[in-house]
């Protein structure tokens, strides 16, 4: 059952891709949707995208390209160049977070599969069915949905649905870079890539991770203890949200999840040591509360204990 589910990861730049062991992964999302200024972001480098697609295909992996969550008309020309290069290189799918980007992709590159990303806010089965009618090849329903709600949405359409299963999930797209506004790295100067180092916003004892133009969950979202249940809900792909992780961490995460997927396919629970390994890799612990209708920052383990 879970054996055929795609496991993919998100890789922002060539430096990370060429250091990653792809062995545990089926596919990779190239590019980083939160900020075009991110160091080496594939979304500004058509030649790098072409090289990455070639490399992934050589390893028999699928190559997808994500796109910015927020894309203004002035940034269109740069993105268009990259999208056309990706299509020419044989990309296996393009991910749209912005409905305008989706519209452009379907009109200009109709031969390429288009994935509908989480920022399109797919919250119900009718939205999922609508995206199917519009030609989406894959849908990422909102990460705020519970497992039961997710199952209804997945059942409401005939296209593949994907769920992030690990990593810090987005809490929103900010209108400006928080790190540049509040540090000597002023907006007028070249970006110093402060988001490469972990920064947290703390409020009354809880926290969010700031990557400048976006806030992410403070804890790493983690569904490793629930993969069998998740697979039974009809999902086609599981995503590791690893945009800000280095190759070593991506290797560890993908290995744990590959093993957990194989165990899930036989109805076997993941070992607690693996959960602890993930907890150790997370900078500020684990969360998955949304999936269970709880606060997003809560964590629910296999024994249904809320730990946070």
């Amino acid at each position: 059952m879970a054996k055929n589910i795609e496991l993919n990861a998100c890789i922002s730049n060539p430096e990370t891709l060429f250091a990653v062991d792809l062995g545990s992964l089926d596919a990779v999302y190239l590019g980083q949707p939160y900020c075009l200024k991110y160091d080496g972001n594939y979304l500004l480098d058509p030649a790098a995208v072409t090289t990455a697609v070639d490399r992934l295909h050589a390893d028999d992996k699928k190559a997808y390209l994500t796109t910015p969550a927020i894309l203004t008309d002035s940034d269109w020309p740069r993105l268009e160049t990259v999208l056309r290069a990706a299509a020419a290189a044989g990309i296996d799918g393009l991910e749209a977070h912005d409905v305008g980007v989706f519209r452009w992709m379907r009109r200009e590159l109709p031969e390429i599969a288009v994935h509908v990303g989480n920022f399109t806010n797919v919250y119900n089965e009718e939205s999922a069915a609508m995206w199917e009618r519009l030609g989406a090849a894959r849908i990422v329903p909102s990460h705020e949905l519970t497992g039961d709600e997710l199952e209804i949405v997945v059942g409401g359409c005939g296209v593949d649905c994907e769920r992030p299963v690990h990593g810090p999930l987005p809490l929103g797209m900010a209108y400006t870079c928080l790190l540049r506004r509040n540090t000597p790295d002023s907006p007028e100067k070249p970006c110093r890539q402060q988001c490469a180092e972990p920064h947290y916003l703390e409020l009354d004892g809880w926290r969010m991770r700031s990557v400048g133009t976006s806030l992410l969950s403070g804890e790493d979202y983690c569904l490793v203890e629930h993969l069998e249940d998740l697979a039974a809900r009809g999902l086609a792909a599981f995503r590791l949200e690893t945009y800000f992780d280095n190759a070593e961490k991506i290797n560890q995460l993908s290995a744990v999840y590959r093993q957990a997927l194989e165990l899930a396919s036989t109805g076997t629970a993941v070992e607690s040591s693996q959960v602890e390994l993930l907890r150790g890799l997370a900078l500020r612990g684990l969360c998955n509360g949304w999936h269970f209708g709880r606060n997003g920052r809560d964590y629910v383990g296999a024994g249904d204990a809320c730990v946070n």
Binding site: A69, I70, L71, T72, D73, S74, W76, D98, V99, G100, V101, F102, R103, W104, F119, T120, N121, Y123, N124, E126, S127, A129, M130, S142, H143, E144, L145, T146, E149, I152, V153, G156, L169, P170, L171, G172, M173, A174, Y175, L178, L179, N182, T183, E197, P198, H199, Y200, L201, E202, L203, W206, M208, L215, S217, W290, G293, R294, N295, G296, R297
Partner: protein, 330 residues
């Protein structure tokens, strides 16, 4: 003072051809609607109970929306119904029922964020105008066209677009009517792309309207925003605190200086934020923008930000800070 330049504002169009935009004010109650109309609003927007982006206490439930429509139409004014949450699966049928009721009530327009609900209205109630909500965060012309194809006749341009040339590009590239926010509180996140509140806290509660026990995501889809971005916080890296304070809070939007630009590019609706604000706020902010719009329309070349408006703006900004203090913020 939110970037206001006092005095003369260079007119961008003096040919007098630009059509005067509608002034839309918030109505969190029938009394607020009366106040807004008295102060010069052409239209009010009102939340429909359980499916708008504000708390229930400022939404219209049951027959109230019908009363509001009767009152507004009697004065030759309009009402747009805010139904701009994204329904979860259990809410879809309820949402359809509410849409049918609004159509029956002859609402002047319905403000929607969920794409499938837009198509539902387009296909079932084609005579009911659809506005793509601020929650759709339109930041490019392709997106505006996308919502037009889903049945929208108006799109609200994202209020997080700070470069007005981006707004101009959208206006020039599409023929759909545009709506913009001109005054009020403004989020740290792009509207519709914020999940902070549900990350912090969600609750199960009894919903009297639905007669069921259900999840109230205090999140971007259910209108129970916890004003996270107005709160004090501390920005830290692994070594030290980098900054602290209300780091996410943005100054109130004061759009008087942008009025000439909006006239020039042909914006159809100028919207004031604040359904949860008190009556005095609704009255003063509506009067302010009524005066400014009329002044510009009458004589663009003489339009200026008047000194007498300054204390009004100061009070409006203080009112919003007081609103946040009622949440024990700041």
């Amino acid at each position: 003072m939110a970037g206001i330049t006092w005095g003369r504002v260079t007119p961008v169009s003096t040919n007098g051809a630009a059509k005067k935009p509608e002034l839309m004010s918030p109505a969190g109650s029938l009394e607020a609607a009366e106040t807004a109309f008295d102060a010069g609003a052409d239209v009010v927007y009102a939340g429909v109970s359980g499916i708008s982006m504000r708390p229930k206490r400022v939404e219209f439930g049951g027959d109230n929306i019908g009363d509001l429509l009767k009152y507004a139409h009697g004065r030759g004014k309009k009402v747009y119904a805010a139904t701009n949450v994204c329904p979860k699966p259990a809410d879809v049928d309820f949402f359809h029922e509410k849409i049918a009721e609004l159509h029956e009530s002859r609402v002047d327009g319905i403000i929607l964020a969920d794409i499938s609900m837009m198509e539902y209205v387009r296909d079932h109630y084609p005579d009911m105008p659809v506005h793509a909500s601020i929650m759709t965060s339109v930041v490019n012309a392709e997106a505006a066209e996308f919502y037009k194809e889903r049945g929208a006749s108006v799109v609200v341009v994202s209020r997080s677009l700070e470069d007005m040339e981006e707004v101009r590009r959208i206006a020039e590239a599409t023929d759909i009517d545009l709506e913009v926010f001109v005054h009020g509180g403004i989020c740290y996140m792009f509207d519709g792309d914020c999940y902070m509140s549900s990350y912090w806290r969600q609750k199960w509660d009894y919903d009297a309207d639905r007669k069921s026990h259900r999840l109230f995501g205090q999140n971007n889809t259910k209108g129970e925003c916890q004003l996270i971005c107005k709160r004090s916080c501390s920005l830290k890296n692994d070594k030290e605190e980098v900054a602290s304070g209300r780091l996410m809070r943005r100054p109130d939007d004061v759009g008087l200086e942008r009025l000439p630009f909006y006239f020039e590019i042909g914006v159809r609706i100028l919207k004031i934020e604040g359904r949860a604000m008190p009556l005095r706020y609704v009255r003063e902010v509506t009067q302010l923008y009524r005066q400014a719009i009329d002044a510009y329309a009458a004589a663009p070349e003489r339009f200026q930000i008047l000194d007498e408006w300054r204390p009004v703006i100061d009070r409006l900004i203080e009112d919003r800070l007081e609103y946040e203090r009622t949440w024990h913020i700041g």
